[in-house]
């Protein structure tokens, strides 16, 4: 019976191919979109690892509600705690913390001569150099010192790309730049960090200033967040607990968040998962279209082979035998379509990987193949039932 099915499908190669095309495209789209979603997650994980290990973020507002992503992030950050030097001094006294960098965050116009750029301003202390691994390469100057950050010295360290944009084909070291009418001297260029593209502003477009110098650009003398480096991975939960206890003495627990990288990654993962699911769902619609195509072809096949059905019944085939024969055919068509779609998606994932991360997972393969054979059975059922109910006498007479 199985061999007969293969023969039938092979004899109608063109029609079988066109029928399976809907399934091929559907399976291809589903697997590939899921692969891109997964690749993106892996990519973001890697990017986070590059930020530096064992990082803890202390931010204003309640970013996670019971460990889940709070969609009103922006609001809660604005209405949350405004950290000041007192918080910083008290946090610094925690022995468990290896290093802490307060961060003044702003966006401003940075110019050098006629060239200018709208950049992220990071005001901090020398501690950020080690936490974020920002030590300039040899020959690229130096980072500002602890003393410079305390004394609000007007010095700046430029991100790798920003340095090239403002000072093409020359060394920026010792040159002057203007940020919101304040003049700063460039003392170093940070190493290349990457990021950017569609994923937000590049880390290489930033300007690093001593925090007191950065305060001359902002209205309030406050910190936007703190970056903390824990001693090691195992101490992260303990460190977070101590930070929370300390800040709770001054702030309501709704007013600040203490997050580590895994938590931030979880938030991003959840958003990406939802996105991937939505995209895969849309792609799955093409599987239904493919199923309708199979149904159409199966109805045609049944009509064409009416006399065959009559003969088979005359020699003893039961209604179930006939039904199963046509079901096998439609399921097989659909499954082959699924396999071809899988092959295509593996090839395209390889190609896409040159530009964009894509990773095919085992469960997406199982799901796509399972769904495609199921589609074949579901959409093959109605034509197969029609065939099984044919009267043998009328079927034999059919011209």
């Amino acid at each position: 019976m199985f061999i007969y099915t293969l023969k039938i499908i092979w004899t109608n190669k063109l029609r079988s191919g066109l029928t399976a095309l809907g399934i091929i495209i559907g399976v291809w789209a589903v697997i590939l979109l899921v692969a891109i979603g997964n690749g993106l997650k892996v990519y973001i994980n890697q990017q986070f690892e590059q930020l530096g290990a064992n990082l803890i973020f202390i931010m204003p507002g309640n970013l996670l509600e019971n460990g889940r992503y709070n969609p009103h992030q922006e609001m809660t950050m604005l209405s949350g705690a405004k950290f000041d030097e007192r918080d910083w001094r008290r946090l610094k006294r925690l022995d468990i913390i290896e290093a802490i960098a307060p961060v003044v965050y702003d966006n401003a116009r940075v110019s050098a001569g006629r060239r200018e750029s709208f950049s992220e301003i990071i005001g901090s202390t020398a501690a950020i150099e080690t936490i974020r691994e920002l030590t300039p390469e040899p020959g690229q100057g130096r980072f500002f010192t602890q003393a410079e950050s305390r004394r609000s010295k007007r010095v700046a360290v430029l991100g790798y790309q920003l340095a090239q944009d403002l000072f093409p084909q020359q060394s920026p070291l010792g040159k002057k730049i203007t940020i919101d009418n304040h003049r700063f001297t460039v003392i170093g260029v940070a190493p290349k960090k990457g990021g950017g593209g569609n994923m937000g502003p590049s880390l290489d477009q930033r300007v690093y200033l001593p925090y007191k110098a950065a305060w001359s650009l902002t209205e309030e003398k406050k910190f936007n967040f703190f970056l903390v480096k824990a001693q090691n991975q195992k101490l992260i939960p303990e460190t977070k607990k101590k930070i929370k206890n300390l800040l709770s003495q001054r702030y309501d627990s709704e007013e600040f968040s203490v997050l580590d990288q895994t938590e931030i990654l979880q938030v991003i993962s959840k958003i990406l998962n939802a996105l991937t699911l939505a995209l895969a769902g849309i792609a799955a619609i093409s599987l239904i279209v493919g199923g309708v195509g199979i149904m159409n072809t199966m109805y045609a096949t049944v009509a064409e082979r009416t006399r065959e059905v009559g003969l088979r019944k005359a020699v003893g085939a039961t209604n179930q035998d006939i039904r199963n024969q046509f079901l096998l055919e439609s399921a097989f068509l659909s499954l082959v379509g699924g396999l071809v779609g899988l092959g295509l998606s593996i090839i395209s994932a390889q190609l896409i990987n040159h530009f964009f991360p894509a990773e095919i997972t085992f469960w997406s393969i199982i799901l796509a193949l399972g769904v495609s054979s199921l589609v074949g059975i579901i959409f093959g059922l109605a034509p197969a039932r029609r065939a099984s109910r044919l009267s043998p006498v009328e079927a034999l007479r059919y011209e």
């Binding site: 039961t318 209604n319 034999l396």
Partner: protein, 221 residues
């Protein structure tokens, strides 16, 4: 023994009812060779279909050795056709995409107790008895009409049926080949005692039968 008791068959052609058979009663003994003759549209094919369990009567009973075919479920009827009846049709009805051997084996694949190796041996024996041993792996369209009808006869015999029901078995053949086919069928009836019921409008074939039943306007004449 096969008996028909006041069997009628009514078809619906659009809005009008067509009476193909009208209260037909008859008995056929096991091992008999019966010819059913009549003009086209007389109801003789309908009679054959009812005898072979391909169709159900609108009224009356078709009884094989005490078993009423009308009381059987679709599945039981399929099994009955598979085990007890061998059909031979005017248009041969061979499946075009499979080989001669596979065509002969087709009824064996639907048998309740499948033994395909045994069936295969039997199919080869039957085909060689019918002079087709060199044609096993050909497809039907590579065969002449007479050869195709011999394949159909081998297919009818594969499950060792009690009766062969043939609907105009020579209708698509030239007279010489037709005679050969009738000789084969007659021999099966004589040597193996297989009940042979042949529908025909050819008087020369009817002459060979032990008994002739003539149908006219759905009634036995």
């Amino acid at each position: 023994m096969i008996s028909l008791k006041s069997v009628s068959k009514v078809y619906l052609l659009g809005q009008t009812q067509v009476k193909a058979l009208d209260r037909v009663s008859l008995e056929i003994k096991r091992g008999e060779f019966v010819a059913i003759i009549g003009a086209s549209g007389s109801g003789k094919s309908t009679l054959l279909h009812l005898l072979g369990g391909l169709d159900r009567p609108s009224n009356g009973q078709v009884i094989w050795d005490g078993q009423d075919l009308g009381q059987m479920s679709d599945q039981e009827l399929a099994r009955f056709r598979n085990q007890e009846i061998g059909f031979v049709f005017q248009q041969f009805h061979l499946l075009p995409r499979i080989t001669v051997l596979e065509n002969v084996l087709l009824p064996a694949t639907y048998a309740p107790q499948k033994n395909l190796t045994q069936a295969q041996t039997r199919a080869k024996t039957l085909l060689s008895q019918l002079g087709l041993s060199h044609r096993l792996n050909h497809t039907p369209n590579q065969l002449s009409g007479g050869e195709q009808q011999r394949v159909a006869i081998a297919r009818a015999l594969i499950n060792q049926p009690r009766a062969i029901l043939a609907d105009e078995p020579t209708g698509n053949l030239d007279s010489k080949t037709g005679r050969q086919i009738m000789t084969i069928l007659k021999k099966l009836n004589q040597t193996q005692g297989i009940t042979l019921i042949v529908v025909t409008h050819d008087p020369s074939i009817a002459k060979e039968a032990k008994r002739v039943i003539e149908i006219k306007d759905g009634k036995i004449k």
